[in-house]
């Protein structure tokens, strides 16, 4: 999978508010099983919770581990970190900061 495809998957995964809330939940406590997570989302079915977790797992935002009969989930924030640090933010930084600096230099005759 290319980095760009990965980015698209990450976006799709965090576009849903329930999935963002699940990431928050896993951030607060590192490891939870499906039952724990489902309890925190009483308004949606356990099947829907599993489906959301599947989307997060495919986007590599969570890792799952089987312990006994239970599947445990933990957060993997790296794809989010990659985007946060990535070109989208950098383009804004480069564009805005650079143009501002150019204006200051020229108008203040620093050069």
């Amino acid at each position: 999978m290319s980095p760009r495809t990965a980015r698209t998957d990450t976006f799709a995964a965090i576009a849903d508010p329930n999935r963002r809330a699940m990431l928050d939940l896993l951030l607060a406590r590192p490891e939870r099983n499906v039952g724990d997570i489902a309890t925190a989302f009483p308004k949606i079915s356990r099947a829907a919770v599993s489906k959301h977790l599947g989307v997060l797992r495919r986007a590599k935002l969570v890792r799952s581990r089987k312990r006994g009969r239970e599947q445990y989930y933990e957060l993997n924030p790296q794809p989010l970190v990659d985007i946060h640090d990535g070109w989208l933010r950098k383009f804004e930084e480069i564009a805005e900061a650079s143009l501002q600096r150019l204006k200051e230099r020229v108008e203040n005759e620093e050069a």
Partner: protein, 158 residues
């Protein structure tokens, strides 16, 4: 004339109270460019001519360094510099998009525009790529992302 700005483009601009010939002095050498275009990242190479290389470098949060840039395809003094934009090494796009810096005399001064454009040249899902660049990042979404990343930051330094 300059390059034709490709249909899928992101633009930032600023108005400077000086004529284009004055503004252009800041485009004339690596040292001059580094003083402003090196803001937020490092400008390692800038060869001010068609075919010359632009090479930039930035720090990733995980401590790694990433490089990007490409050859200059348009170099018109007092008017425009355009160079290819790709990661080095490439992430496997079809053709690089472009970064264009364009000077236009306006309102007793100069408008400087910075475009990241022709994103469609990259192939793949250029539509989504552009949407993310232009529209995808509402501040709310960026804030949500920042919160998650910041909250996780202490754990990474342990």
């Amino acid at each position: 004339m300059g390059i034709e700005i490709g249909v899928l483009a992101v633009r930032r601009s600023i108005h400077i109270k000086a004529p284009p010939e004055r503004v252009w002095r800041e485009f004339e050498s690596l040292e001059k460019m580094q003083a402003w275009f090196g803001t937020g990242h490092r400008l390692l190479r800038y060869e001010p001519r068609v075919g010359g290389e632009v090479l930039l470098e930035l720090d990733w949060r995980d401590g790694s360094i990433r490089r990007f840039g490409g050859p200059i395809v348009v170099f018109e003094p007092e008017r425009e510099v355009t160079f290819e934009q790709d990661w080095i090494p490439s992430e496997g796009i079809e053709e690089p998009s472009y970064i264009t810096l364009r000077l236009t005399p306006a309102l007793d001064g100069t408008v400087v525009e910075l475009f990241h454009h022709s994103i469609e040249r990259e192939g793949g899902d250029y539509s989504e790529e552009h949407r993310q660049l232009e529209h995808g990042w509402s501040m709310r979404q960026l804030d949500a992302l920042a919160n998650i990343v910041e909250a996780w930051a202490p754990a990474r330094t342990e």
